[in-house]
């Protein structure tokens, strides 16, 4: 028996799908499904609508639209139960249906991912608990790709940093705990950031709780389940708060840019139909209602062409598309067909559907890339990028102020401006009070007084701050652990790479054409020490001539740099009873360390560029083989984020009048 692969994407989605279908089967007959918009994406990834129909779903409704009708006796609500707001909405709709409908309804509420006590309490107060049968769908991780698992908590950023509501930390802990129960404990939990620390503490506490309780219900396997895993190397937790700038920057990978320009939700993006053409739906694309001008396009990580494109820097995408087109053309060319024997011909015909799918995918991506080029060629885009690159390479931020002011005057969308300002503030431990005030006034004048609230929220999220009473250069004096100090980090982690190679990347800096994301550097300092140490080549260690770079010893880089970064640092090892450890290693047999999995958890969201960078790191680990402590990198997160979303969570949408 091959050892079980931990964090197996297909296994997780299969289980989630089975669980849901079982729940739906439990409701007899046809039913109307009311679901929260935030769940639609995940649902679509896991179950096809036709399958839902097979299980009796007649019509889907969105909870937010409040329009479910009485056409079916059975009404099934599929909603998240953590927020009292959604619970009350469900209660209201049940009451409305009960009042209006001539039909006697059967209500079923399926809470995702768990049934909460608050929901019970609120439903009871609303007087509807008695007539709905309540169950839960333990949907935690939604696999977006084989190596990307997301909790798809859309509000995680707002909750964690603006409202300081740690619900998502708890849910993350639950999700990770489920995996631990299945595959064994993470032998090591290491990470950075206050919320990460909270998550690590929760994981350790839950471990004692699981040994203390619940296990009685399950079978004897759980005793074995709570020993350190032999297939997982470690869990690395990065709090988003540790590294906001990476999110604020414009992502320059192809997938990142699709997200920036068109917005990707749950592997689907909505593109104007004029861009992708009104062709009949191809495999890998799902056409939405013909009436709308937007078409939904599936960004499929399993698509062969896309898997090579997605993680590349956008500047080389054109060339890649070109090669793909040539290859495709040469293999389907007519005159070549003539030269083929019948056996070859048969071989060719069997491959034909593959070619057609590839053709379709090629056409789609060429169109998308063209549309993105239109965007990246625009004056505003290049101006923003210039400001970003200057700030990240360590130029004096005040030199960029004119550009930002001009962009404000030109009425560039607010998120773009806020990204630039927050970028400056977060990389320089705040802005000069005077500058900050000027920009605040400029923003309020340009975008409206309601953004006083936006600015307050940004300050609360510590995306925007004033460099309190300090003169430039003495910012080291700030209390350690409260702000991230970029100038030593830039040097010690080589965050800026001047000789970046986008076409043949040799370092993760390719994803931002120069800037190497801090978060990924941190991960590297744990799992890819040698490479990183050699990349840094610090002048402070001239004796580094020796084969092994002294920096690569132990956790030296990690320990060195984490003191410049805000938030708590932690490194825990989880051990189990010796007997059980032995039993587990006996069961799994001996297999080399290289096959171990490293789980990187981003609390508060991960950007697509970081995913690409981590994939790059993972690829290198596999190549080198001996280096690092595992070769499979699995990325888990509370959700996928991007700059617009991060600042967007602070933006006030109400206006006067």
């Amino acid at each position: 028996m091959a050892p079980k692969v931990p964090f197996n994407a297909s296994e997780i989605s299969e289980k989630a799908r089975r669980d849901l279908l079982l729940l739906l089967e439990g409701v007899r007959g046809k039913k109307n499904l009311v679901l929260e918009k935030a769940l639609a994406g995940s649902l679509n990834l896991l179950v096809k609508f036709s399958t839902l129909q097979e299980y009796g779903v007649d019509k889907p409704f969105f909870l937010e639209n409040d329009n479910v009708d009485s056409s079916q006796r059975n009404v099934v609500f599929l909603v998240r139960g953590e927020k009292s707001k959604t619970v009350l909405e469900v209660a209201d709709q049940i009451k409305r249906l009960r009042r209006n409908g001539s039909v006697e309804h059967e209500f079923t509420i399926i809470w995702v991912p768990r049934r909460t006590m608050v929901s019970d309490q609120l439903l009871e107060e609303a007087g509807v608990l008695g007539e709905a049968s309540v169950s839960e769908w333990p949907l935690f991780f939604v696999p977006l790709a084989d190596d990307v698992l997301s909790l798809e908590l859309d509000e995680a950023v707002t909750d964690l940093y603006l409202r300081k509501d740690p619900t998502s930390v708890y849910l993350s802990a639950k999700a990770l705990m489920l995996q631990q129960q299945k595959y064994g404990l993470f032998p090591r939990i290491i990470g950075k950031g206050d919320n990460s620390k909270r998550l690590a503490d929760l994981l350790i506490r839950m471990r004692t709780e699981v040994t203390a309780g619940e296990s009685s219900a399950s079978d004897g396997a759980s005793f074995l389940g709570l020993t350190p895993s032999s297939t997982i190397d470690s869990l690395i937790i990065i709090d988003r708060e540790v590294d906001f700038p990476t999110v604020l920057l414009t992502q320059l990978t192809y997938e990142g840019l699709i997200d920036e320009v068109f917005n990707i939700t749950a592997n689907q993006t909505e593109v104007d139909s004029s861009v992708v053409g009104g062709a009949a739906p191809q495999p890998g694309q799902t056409a939405s209602a013909s009436a709308s001008m937007k078409r939904k396009v599936l960004i499929d990580p399993k698509d062969a062409l896309y898997s090579t494109l997605g993680d590349s820097n956008f500047s080389v995408v054109g060339a890649l598309l070109n090669t793909a087109a040539r290859r495709l053309q040469s293999s389907t060319e007519r005159n070549q067909l003539a030269a083929k024997t019948t056996a070859e011909l048969r071989d060719f015909v069997t491959k034909l559907p593959g070619y057609q799918a590839e053709q379709a995918s090629l056409k789609l991506h060429t169109n998308l890339a063209e549309e993105i080029i239109k965007h990246t060629r625009s004056d505003i885009f290049t101006r923003c990028l210039e400001v970003q690159q200057n700030i990240m390479s360590g130029a004096d931020p005040t030199t960029q102020h004119d550009s930002i002011t001009e962009l404000i005057s030109r009425d560039v969308p607010l998120p773009t401006i806020l990204r630039l300002l927050c970028l400056e503030s977060t990389t320089n431990a705040g802005m000069r009070p005077k500058d900050l005030e000027t920009f605040k006034r400029a923003i309020i004048q340009a975008y409206g007084p309601q953004h006083l609230l936006t600015l307050s929220s940004l300050e609360k999220m510590s995306l925007l701050s004033s460099r309190a009473g300090l003169v430039l250069g003495t910012s080291q004096a700030a209390k350690p652990g409260t702000v991230t100090n970029y100038s030593p980090l830039r040097r010690n982690l080589k965050l800026w790479d001047d000789d970046v190679n986008e076409a043949k990347p040799n370092d993760i800096s390719y994803v931002f054409s120069g800037y190497a994301p801090l978060s990924v550097r941190l991960v590297q300092s744990i799992i890819q020490k040698q490479t990183l140490a050699n990349a840094i080549k610090p002048p402070t260690h001239p004796s580094a001539a020796a084969q092994a770079n002294p920096l690569a010893q132990g956790l030296r880089i990690f320990d060195d740099v984490t003191k410049y970064i805000r938030g708590a640092t932690f490194d825990e090892t989880q051990t189990g009873e010796e007997k059980a450890v032995k039993a587990r290693s006996m069961l799994n047999g001996s297999h080399n360390d290289a096959a171990k999995t490293v789980v990187v958890f981003f609390l508060g969201g991960v950007t697509r560029a970081e995913i690409s960078a981590l994939r790059f790191v993972g690829g290198r680990l596999r190549e080198v083989g001996g280096e690092g402590r595992g070769s499979r990198v699995v990325i888990c997160s509370t959700g996928i984020v991007k700059g617009a979303g991060l600042v967007g969570s602070a933006i006030e949408t109400e206006t006067f009048g």
Binding site: R28, G29, E82, K83, S84, K85, E106, R114, T116, M117, V118, Q121, L122, G130, S133, V134, D159, R163, K164, D165, P166, T167, Y170, A173, D201, L202, R205, T208, E209, T211, A212, G213, E214, S215, S216, G220, D379, E406, I408, S409, R410, D411, E437, K440, A442, I444, Q445, A446, Y447, G448, P449, Q450, L452, L453, S456, E652, E654, T655, F656, G657
Partner: protein, 827 residues
């Protein structure tokens, strides 16, 4: 030793056996014929209560009191539940030995352990008015028949939701039965009603008439897995129909004058009819055999057989399992029978043993398997031993044999024999044990307070013992009269550190018993803070509950406690609780932002959080649709910040916002525009719109009023004019001013982007800050190649000029060539 076949009866070509489980079940005084008797599935407990429709001999005050008595199969009284709650219309068991009592008024009590603790619920749907007639139970639920023939089903007991099934005709129901959801075609419970001469099948959505005319059917019975239905017709015939109603399988004529009092399936292949002291067992193909008893007999159906209960004896009637038949049937020539014989001979030290073994050598492995299985089906310990010994002998002769099954069977039999012992009285058959699972068996034992046996079995089978410990401790807390401290020490001494022990459960038992102090003491040993919360709340230890909830990290728990506190405490006290707990405060803020802004206002005021308070007012101002109200709110928001110096900037901005609103309102009035034309726009947007509409003066006023920087103002004016396509004004403006605060390139770019290359070109000469190359490009963008050439010529850049020349056509080309020539001459 009696022969194992002594209790076998042949029914058709199949054998049935009556295994005598226990003797001397009930007091001889107990008139079992006047009681209703129901047995829990998997040989569980038996509940009896007096049938009210029968006349009883008066036996003094004591027995006149009505009660439900729970006995084990061996007749040990487990519990007596005194009953004065009205007439019982349904009594039944669930799979996990919960006793359900349904009274006439539709109240259901679910006794979840055998100790008399219960959870009540009501059926509703008018059951209290028309009354419950009778009930039918299946493993996890039941269906109640009401007086008006309405049917109510309850599918689970942890969260009972009585559902009304489709409504059948209201004529009198002769008899009825249910098909459990697990075995029905529709996967939901189905009810078969005999009404008049026909049968109705009722499920959640419709009541279907099956068009029978042979009725009325006096009895209906469904086989344990729903594959067959049996009907007893008025003329004494038993019909067996397949579960999908597709064919009638057999018909048996009982020739009885009286209708039997009961008809039940025995396993899935025979039907038993019971009269007072006579039982007919009808096998397939309508063959039957008759048993006679000397007392009233009750039928208790189980999954693989039928328990027969009289005052004197408890018997198990089942089809002889195939393996057993193979070994023991008279004259059996099967390898297993030979193996048993060989083992016997070996005991007698006869050399024939080996001959026999050699004879069955080719199928020896199979024979061993059969013996092992037959041992499992055997109740008699002597024969169990003999069969296992035979298997062991056979297996020693084999070179390769996987002994797992053998070992398993030995373990299982040990457990089975232990629980079959009359003091425990759980006569499980092997199949029942497999289906019940060892965990559930242990739960049954703990419910009977047989802790020692439960612990022994769980350690023997290597199962977690935590639930046994907890149950024991809870029971200890309930019944012990010792003082709190000694109980606590006793429990902790025994259980502390044992895996999986939930002290919360024990503490709850103590609390329910009214021993609050003990509960608190015990709760301290609970390692999971989350588990402590509900009980702490119940114990009114609110702040401790809140702290524990926060400690658990589960926001749901924190919310739960907060909601509770919010309702209970006065506002000031509530805030005091929040004061030192930032997480709780954050959660209150985040939920109140959508629902309860007044609460937030008070909170901010209390904590002197000026900025947040003011922001709250600002957001209210934004929400109000009435301008005057919005202005009021803004004023309040600004006043809120009055005394704080470091928020002065914020305050000015709020005042500016009010100023802007008033200004916009004035503009709307002055320009006779609909309201909302300006209100809601920012300063910049206002300037833009005003300029665009040609109200330059007013725009200027706004600029002055809000000290808009010159560069911004210029940009705004430029963009507004371009968007309004006021080319003349742009030209005029550009002509008038020598310098522009933003340079002239933006003018060029914006105008060109709007598509007017003529006007755009006007700005090229003004762009002095750019290189020649860029200027050439600018000319080219306007399509003025000659001009571009001229620019290059002026700069004497020959290469650039040639480049331009390459792109030029027609007359422009000629012109540029002329320039090239001139340059050449110049050299």
């Amino acid at each position: 030793m009696s022969k194992p076949t002594a209790n076998w009866e042949k029914v058709g070509d199949k054998f049935y056996r009556r295994v005598e489980l226990y003797r001397n079940i009930f007091d001889a005084d107990l008139e079992l014929e006047k009681y209703n008797v129901v047995g829990a599935p998997y040989s569980g407990a038996v509940a009896i209560y007096r049938d009210e429709e029968k006349i009883h001999a008066y036996r003094g005050m004591q027995t006149a009191k009505s009660s439900i008595d729970i006995y084990s199969c061996a007749g040990t009284l487990i519990r007596r539940i005194n009953w004065d709650k009205g007439s019982i219309k349904g009594l039944g068991w669930s799979e996990d030995e919960k006793l359900l009592v349904v009274t006439e008024d539709g109240t259901v009590r679910c006794y979840y352990d055998l100790q008399g603790d219960f959870v009540p619920f009501t059926l509703g749907h008018g059951a209290d008015e028309v009354g419950v007639q009778s009930c039918r139970f299946w493993s996890t639920g039941f269906v109640a028949l009401l007086g008006n023939n309405h049917l109510i089903s309850v599918a689970r007991y942890d969260e009972p939701r009585p559902k009304l099934l489709a409504i059948p005709p209201s004529e009198a129901v002769v008899s009825w039965a249910i098909i459990p959801p697990a075995y029905s075609l529709s996967r939901s419970v189905e009810v078969i009603l005999a009404i008049g001469t026909t049968l109705y099948v009722v499920d959640a959505t419709d009541a279907e008439d099956r068009d029978f005319t042979a009725g009325p059917f006096r009895h209906i019975s469904v086989s344990p897995r729903g594959e067959f239905l049996a009907f007893y017709t008025d003329d004494g015939k038993v019909w067996v129909v397949s579960g999908d109603w597709s064919e009638k399988l057999s018909e048996y004529n009982s020739r009885a004058k009286t209708v039997p009092k009961d008809m039940q399936w025995c396993g899935s292949n025979a039907v038993a009819l019971a009269w007072e002291d006579e039982v007919h067992l009808i096998g397939p193909r309508s063959v039957a055999t008759k048993f006679y008893y000397d007392a009233w007999v009750h039928l208790l159906p189980d999954v693989d057989g039928l328990r027969l209960l009289t005052n004197d004896v408890c018997e198990y009637l089942q089809k002889v399992p195939d393996e057993t038949e193979e070994v023991f049937r008279l004259g059996s020539e099967s390898p297993a029978a030979n193996l048993l014989e060989a083992s016997n001979l070996l005991d007698q030290k006869s050399p024939k043993a080996d001959d026999l073994i050699q004879l069955i050598r080719p199928s020896l492995a199979e024979a061993v398997d059969t013996c092992v299985k037959a041992a499992g089906h055997e109740y008699n310990i002597h024969w169990q031993k003999a069969l296992l010994k035979a298997a062991s002998y056979g297996k020693s002769v084999l070179d390769l044999y996987n002994s797992d099954d053998f070992v398993d069977m030995c373990e299982t039999l040990r457990v089975l024999n232990a629980v079959r012992f009359y003091e425990i009285g759980l006569p499980l058959s092997y199949d029942q044990f497999k289906r019940l699972t060892p965990e559930k068996l242990i739960a049954r034992l703990t419910n009977r307070n047989a802790y020692l046996l439960a612990l022994r079995i769980s350690s023997y089978l290597q199962l977690p013992a935590s639930s046994i410990h907890v149950h024991w401790a809870a029971q200890k807390v309930r019944i012990s009269t010792a003082d709190d401290d000694s109980i606590c020490t006793l429990i902790v001494k025994k259980l502390h550190g044992a895996p999986g022990v939930s002290f919360e459960g024990i503490a709850r038992a103590a609390y329910d018993e009214g021993r609050v102090r003990l509960a608190t003491q015990l709760l301290n040993y609970e390692p999971r803070p989350g588990k402590q919360v509900p009980l702490l709340l119940g114990m009114k230890e609110d702040t401790i509950a809140l702290d524990k909830a926060i400690e658990s990290g589960d926001t749901d728990l924190v919310y739960h406690v907060l909601l509770h506190l919010r309702k209970k405490l006065p506002l000031a006290a509530f805030f005091r609780v929040l004061n030192t707990r930032p997480l709780a405060t954050a959660l209150v803020e985040s939920s109140a932002w959508h629902q309860d802004k007044d609460l937030l206002k008070d909170l901010y005021y209390q904590d002197d959080r000026r900025l947040e308070g003011s922001n709250l007012l600002l957001s209210e101002a934004l929400e109000s649709t009435d301008l005057a109200l919005a202005l009021d709110k803004l004023k309040l928001a600004s006043k809120y910040l009055q005394d704080t110096k470091d928020l002065a900037f914020h305050r000015t901005q709020l005042e500016d916002a009010a100023k802007l609103l008033r200004l916009q309102e004035t503009f709307e009035k002055e320009l006779k525009m609909e309201s909302g034309a300006f209100v809601g726009q920012s300063v910049n947007q206002t300037i833009f719109s005003l300029t665009r509409l040609g109200h330059a003066k007013r725009a200027q006023k706004v600029i002055a009023e809000f000290k808009v920087p010159e560069r911004t103002a210029t940009w705004l004016k430029l963009r507004a004019l371009v968007s309004a396509r006021h080319w003349n004004e742009i030209e005029e403006w550009a002509g008038k001013s020598k310098k522009s605060p933003i340079g002239w390139e933006p003018f060029f770019n914006e105008v060109l982007a709007a598509g007017n290359s003529r006007v755009a070109s006007l700005f090229i000469p003004k762009c002095t800050g750019v290189t020649v190359g860029q200027r050439v490009e600018m000319w080219e963008k306007c399509g003025l190649l000659v001009k571009a050439g001229e620019e290059a010529f002026k700069a004497k850049d020959r290469a650039l000029l040639m480049e331009v020349g390459e792109r030029a056509t027609g007359s422009a080309k000629v012109e540029i060539e002329r320039f090239v020539g001139m340059l050449g001459k110049g050299r």
